[in-house]
Amino acid sequence: MADKVLMKGNEAIAEAAIIAGCRHYFGYPITPQTEVAAYMAKKMPKIGGCFLQAESEIAAINMVYGVSSTGKRVMTSSSSPGISLKGEGLSYLAGSDLPALVVNVQRGGPGLGGIQPSQSDYFQATRGGGHGDYHMIVLAPASVQEMAELTVKGFDLADKYRMTSMILADGTMGQMMEPVSLDFDIKPQPEKPWATTGTKMEREHNIVNSLSLVPEELEMLNMKRYDRYKIVEENETMYEEYMVDDADIVIAAFGIAARVSKNAVNEARKQGIKVGLIRPITLWPFPKAPFEKAAEHAKAFISVELSMGQMIEDVKLATNCKRPVTLCNRVGGMIPSPEQVLKAIIDVNNGGVK
């Protein structure tokens, strides 16, 4: 195994993208993800890649659309307000079945909000982000190592299913440094016979477009796209389970909230409370199966989030509301402490929360 290095999460994303063969990055600076762009600005020119600071987020996502149309691996990154600006482009990418990697290092909102960590773009990410019926594959790293691994995975999935993969991180994951190994098994990139690479007068034109004015045809396109989403749901769900097997109480948390919750789980276990943690790694597709299974023995669930309660809806759906699900949260750039999560566990254990 190669040596581990200390890297910021944002830098790990950038380096992993380069290792995965991405040679085109378009972005616009915004805290707390600016290191992604800074890293790309430094590295891309040295390896024959293209770093371009666009005039706006909207321009950047449309540059992504352009490069993706040619079949090349391409990415952009931003933070919450910037991702909203990219919303239109995300919808167009989906409507044109183009692969792309988009990184959202979330900060507190709504509006310009603040610059501290948040998870309040969960709805936006898991429900598509722009207009129309579509999904993105949403990956939620909980360590710097995963920031890197899921970036590589994100490119592979995007190419495989002709979808956008979104890395949904937060300010903590972007800014923190941890040891990371960049020793990846890089798969060859798939053929992209649909790409607009010039016909050389040898084949029909490839057309990349999201306009479809005949309702019957547009309906069929949507249906076919959702058939593909179903395959993604069946094959690509990822999650981590921690002490769930005998748990009376199960915490649902992703990203930084899962890190904090793990401390609380360990402490609660020391106090004799049977509690476990399910950490979704894919937020879409949401890992329903482990929640269904846990609902058979767990008495209650707690959703720990840096939002006013967004993933909690998916937890309720996954468990068919068989068990009570309570929310333990902080918002606006605040992060729940392990003590706060422990208190929520103890309260639920005492039956104190309805």
């Binding site: 200390l6 941890e178 992060i335």
Partner: protein, 178 residues
């Protein structure tokens, strides 16, 4: 040692983040699990800066240090803010050039090091951070020159390789200060 949580705090420009990074790298080289998390507010030179560092034998859970085992306070606002957060039995390192008051608690061990003055007298006014880190390692019983050199080599870029000896000397000053 199973898990040690450090909180570094001071003015922007004092090398708070650098000192934390050094400690994290030292842990990494020694096969520990480590995390380093900076505060990243709208900060600038002269503003406040802090960073959480965790060095552990086990995987690091939350990277946020709310109750440090060791607080490195390099100015008065830092001590005011974090003094009461230190765990009972913990250790506080205070730069006594910039912090004129004493620590109010009697359930923690305190080392007062006039790091800013020592750094200035040593002709390296920017290395008060490393003077304090020298003392931290000494107190941890962990000041071993080869390991320190190796970690410095990781945080000092090749371009500034000449700074390695200078940093080492500053750390030695801190370690030797009684």
């Amino acid at each position: 040692m199973s898990t040690k949580q450090f909180l570094f705090s001071g003015f922007g420009g004092q090398g708070i983040l650098f000192a934390g990074k050094f400690l994290a790298y030292k842990g990494l080289i020694e096969d520990k699990q480590v995390s380093w998390l900076p505060s990243y507010g709208p900060e600038m030179r002269g503003g406040t800066a802090s960073c959480s560092v965790i060095v552990s034998d086990e995987p690091v859970g939350s990277p946020i240090v709310s109750n440090p085992d060791m607080l490195i306070a390099m100015n008065l606002p830092s001590l005011d803010k974090y003094e009461n957060a230190v765990v009972p039995g913990g250790v506080i390192f205070a730069d006594s050039t910039l912090i004129e008051r004493k620590v109010n608690r009697d359930d923690v061990t305190v080392y007062y090091i006039p790091a800013t003055r020592l750094a200035s007298e040593n002709g390296t006014p920017t290395l008060a951070n490393m003077i304090i880190i020298g003392k931290v390692l000494k107190v941890l019983g962990d000041f071993e020159e080869n390991a320190v050199r190796a970690a410095l080599g990781k945080v000092i870029s090749a371009k500034h390789a000449d700074m390695l000896e200078v940093n080492l000397k500053a750390m030695q000053l801190g370690a030797d200060y009684e």
